[in-house]
Amino acid sequence: MQPLVDTIAALATAPGTAGLAVLRVSGEQALAVSDRVFRGSAPLTRAAGHTLHHGWAVGPEARDEAGGERRLDEVVAGVFRGPRSFTGEDTVEWSCHGGAVPARRVLDALIAAGARLAAPGEFSLRAFLHGRMDLAQAEAVADLVHAETESAGDLALAQLSGGLSRRVKALEERLLTCVAEVEARVDFAEDVGGIEIPEHVREEIAGVLGELDALLESAPWGRAVREGVRIPIVGRPNAGKSSLFNALLGEERAIVAAEPGTTRDRVSERLVISGIPITLSDTAGVRDARDPVEAMGVERTLAALEGAALILWVVDGSQPFDPSGDPLPAQLKGRNLVIAVTKADLGVVVDALEPWRAAEPAEFRGVHVSAATGEGMIELRAAISVQLGAGTPGGIASAVANPRHTDALARARGALSRARDLSEVNGAAPPGEIVALELREALAAIGEVTGRQASEELLERIFSRFCIGK
């Protein structure tokens, strides 16, 4: 538990799709921190209390090609000056566009600007400690903190089960050994001796750093898992996209007609496959559209491919595969694909390898399905989840999804890279107690993810590795 000295930030509305997402920033530096992210007609530090300000949230480091700041979202910032605020401290409430992504990006920017991700119940706790709640409410605060922690704990635990947990714990183990090696030399100089940071410890530090990099690279992906991914369904007109879309959703959603080109706009629906929230979007069939209305739909379809984690390509299996004149395969090159060869009930004449050759995707899996009979639908769902998991080394199970974990691992990486730089100083021996300081900071940050307090184990490790007691 941190005392009330720093500035905290968190999403105040429930995650998920809604009209608005509200972020709350509270603390002595709330206005100053917010100003590093907010671009409006005037800085928030100069704003009066209880006022609203329209503007843009910008990324702290990201620059566009012209060297300008990268806009993250259009926002309305509400300024509340302490003690007349929910927490009793200076507070900024950011209204962002709904959906997880814009608010998430703004929150990241605020944390990069100096805020700390709030602990469960921390806003309420601060409100209470600043006298914004009376005694009758105090008990409720205690319960609230407890309840929020419990649920956050469950969530973290669930995310930690499986690959990620194993990977992070393995890193913690390795790091603990590094710390033990360095601390042993500081505390038991006469017993252990040798050079300050031995070569194998340096190598281990670099190794753990590399692993942390890989884990953090998975963070945006993991977040998509946590917050959902979008999968466009594409294919030629009348390939059976809408039927498949409906079959996957299990309900009549898109207009299904025998006339090619019926679906002129994207239709989106949410579903969950293997615990991954998915926004499935039906698109207009792509061909050299002559109809101007259809042409617009086609343009939108191609736009829908941008940034999609996975594309479901629907190919009519009842007709011989002929990619000539089809603009789609070229758009799918190097993408992550599931190829659904449809109309299996009508007799399949297409091998999934044919469209694969035409498109040359980076990753793919082919399935024969029939929306009419349900044949192959289980396999299709499996293929989608496998292809989503293929995006990270070790699969989805080991991706970092929780922003608290990302935050902690990023701090661990920071401390560890400082330790590495220190221990690679040429010439003079690096001071062990300083390297140890950074290593212990990294260990403590990783401990926030695993929930382990390693200080007692540290001695255990020193005594088991080194014969102490001259």
Partner: protein, 651 residues
């Protein structure tokens, strides 16, 4: 508990290790054997904890009795003849800055001085001194003899007399009674002590000395939860029987640096130590006799320290090691006794002699006293508050090994804390508690009263999360104001400390203004600020003169200046985390809170909190099993509790 098997012999049959020579006994010690009466404070035990406690109480103006079995054994070094070492040396410097005595006595009795960890940054440099152990006792006696209000009483404590949960005094085995308003118990390994040598079990606290069994029974009657710990000591050899000329010499520092801030300089001829090693034959003897070791036969039930294993343990746990270091340390300048550092053992005497004689230089060694393991009772320290006072019995303080620690310095630190707090309570003053970012002494006490301990607790620098702030070089900067406020440092001493640190700051500012020309990366010459050059790995205060910059700071302050220049950024970082931690330590939790209903806490946290009854939110946060969320919930309860306690405003 240990009492199930009573040892059949008494350790008193052996010749004890020598204490202070009779000629060194102070005049006031005469009559100690019959003295009784009424005191403000009675300190039971005149070891390293007891001496600090009694000294602090008497210096703070209280009539104080220091009770010990034999006055000549005052401040006896039961194990190694050295004070200090990594992290321990830091504590001695801290005690010295607060007005304690260990540093002063060490400077007077030291025969070899060494700054450990010189190869690392100054933040973890740690002083250590080999001492003449008889001289150490004599010098401590001489120092205590000069303190008004301090009385030596010779005798054995039988029980602590308690009335209505308040201490009333100490009853002695010979029927005398010492009435007291406060009692500090520092029995070391004597509390129900049992010595092990092979199959032999002897009742005693040290070889040749009786155990304090009645006192332990008394603590049990008072309702204290006790545990059992173990430690050990190596054999002592006759110097003349060793072939020291064949061995590598380990010399002291030249010039030697004093421990105490109040010692101007040390003038002494330093003695040598020697280095030798065990070998395959030594290990063979040990392996062949393992069945006779009480450690492996199951006779010893107490937990021993992992950081100070017996040779048996080393051989068994590190079978791949072909040899282990041994330091041969003289126990005095005139005493013919050599301490064999590294071969603590509880093997039978004849096995000890056999393995000792396999070691180079020791082939014809004569053993003066065998090594042994000692098991003793301790009081689980969750029963103490942050001043080391017992919650169960007011006015009763514990310090030293009875709280589960090991080491002279750890004992002295607790003795000081207990003594000062006993005095302050009797004077109606607020408790004296050092924070973890202020002193290792604070870390020690806080660790004791917030953690579970399974082995004797020893201080390590890695126990201090604010390690870079807690340096041996700045102990006086950190603590002299406190020592002065306690009444243990004179105005003059405080003034000297202020002058020293003003000199460091002036020098720091001056070096930020002058520049030096040093080789650049490309082999060119570059001008940099002298203070920045000092911050580089190759920079040092001594070499400033060769670069044409005047360097007139006294030698004792060089390290302080260098560490400030070199670690500025890190020190700042640690200051910030320390400030955040201090904010939690500033929130006090009333003891009555633990008897009230506390919902919203996890079951595990509640159980732990009610056992440890932490006095501050910071202490609560350090108890294993108490999560950050539990601390947040506690914060709410503390605030609510405080608000309820406030009297309703008059209508």
């Amino acid at each position: 508990m240990s009492d199930s098997v009573r040892p059949e012999e008494s350790a008193a049959h052996f010749a004890p290790s020598p204490g202070a020579p009779a000629s060194a006994l102070p005049a006031r010690a005469r009559g100690a054997a019959v003295r009784e009466g009424s005191f403000d404070v009675v300190v039971v035990g005149a070891g390293h904890a007891g001496c600090e406690a009694a000294h602090a109480c008497a210096r703070m103006g209280l009539s104080t009795a220091l009770l010990t079995a034999q006055v000549s054994d005052t401040a006896k070094m039961s194990c190694n003849p050295a004070v200090g070492g990594i992290a321990k040396g830091h504590m001695v410097r801290e005690l010295d800055a607060l007005g304690g005595v260990m540093g002063l006595v060490t400077d007077r009795a030291g025969i070899q001085f060494k700054m450990l960890n010189r190869g690392r940054g100054p933040a973890v440099w740690s002083p250590r001194a080999q001492c003449d152990k008889a001289l150490y006792s004599a010098e401590m006696l001489r120092l205590l003899d000069g303190v008004a209000g301090l009385e030596f009483v010779e005798g054995l404590a039988r029980r602590v007399r308690v009335r209505a949960s308040q201490v009333a005094g100490v009853e002695l085995t010979d029927g005398r009674f010492l009435a007291a308003r406060a009692v500090v118990i520092t029995p070391g390994t004597f509390l129900n002590g049992v010595l092990h040598m092979g199959e032999r079990r002897l009742a005693g606290g040290r070889l040749g000395e009786h155990a304090a069994r009645a006192l332990s029974d008394c603590l049990a009657e008072l309702g204290f939860e006790r545990g059992r710990l173990k430690t050990g000591t190596p054999p002592r050899l006759l110097r003349g029987s060793l072939d020291l000329a064949a061995l590598e010499v380990a010399p002291g520092d030249d010039p030697p640096e004093p421990f105490s801030h109040w010692t101007e300089r040390l003038e002494l001829e330093q003695v040598h130590c020697w280095v030798t090693h065990t070998n395959a034959r030594t290990h063979g003897v040990i392996r062949g006799a393992l069945h006779r070791s009480p450690l492996y036969s199951g006779a010893i039930t107490g937990t021993g320290p992992r950081y100070c294993p017996s040779l048996e343990d080393k051989v068994v746990k590190f079978p791949e090691r072909e040899q282990h270091h041994i330091f041969l340390e003289p126990e005095g300048r005139t005493v013919d006794e050599i301490y064999v550092n590294g071969v603590s053992t509880s093997m039978p005497e004849e096995v000890q002699l056999e393995f000792i004689r396999t070691i180079r230089g020791l082939e014809r060694a004569e053993m003066l006293r065998p090594g042994y393991a000692v098991e003793y009772d301790f009081v689980l320290p969750h029963q103490l508050d942050a001043t080391l006072q017992c919650r169960r019995t007011r006015g009763l303080w514990l310090a030293g090994q009875i709280c589960g620690t090991s080491g002279y310095e750890e004992a002295a630190a607790q003795g000081f804390v207990a003594g000062v707090n006993a005095a302050r309570m009797l004077r109606g003053e607020t408790p004296f508690v050092l924070r973890r970012d202020q002193a290792y002494v604070g870390v020690l006490v806080d660790d004791l009263v917030t953690r579970e301990h399974r082995e004797p607790y020893r201080m390590f620098t890695s126990a201090a999360e604010h390690r870079l702030l807690l340096r041996a070089d700045n102990a006086d900067e950190r603590l002299a104001e406190t020592g002065h406020a306690l009444g243990l440092l004179s105005d003059d001493q405080l003034e000297r400390v202020r002058e020293r640190w003003a000199a460091v700051e002036d020098e720091e500012r001056r070096l930020a203004r002058v520049s030096v020309t040093v080789p650049g990366a490309a082999g060119d010459a570059r001008a940099v600020r002298a203070i920045d050059w000092l911050a580089r790995p190759e920079g040092s205060y001594t070499s400033l003169a060769s670069l044409g910059v005047e360097a007139a700071l006294p030698r004792g302050l060089w390290a302080a200046l260098e560490v400030r220049a070199r670690y500025r950024g890190y020190i700042e970082r640690q200051r910030r985390t320390a400030a955040a931690a201090a904010a939690l330590d500033a929130v006090s939790l009333p003891d009555a809170l633990w008897s009230s209903e506390l919902h919203g806490l996890s079951r595990e946290a509640l159980e732990k909190l009610r056992r440890w009854r932490p006095g501050t939110l910071g202490m609560a946060s350090r108890i294993a099993g108490v999560s950050p969320a539990d601390v947040a919930v506690l914060m709410v309860h503390a605030r609510r509790f405080a608000a309820r306690k406030e009297p309703a405003p008059a209508s």
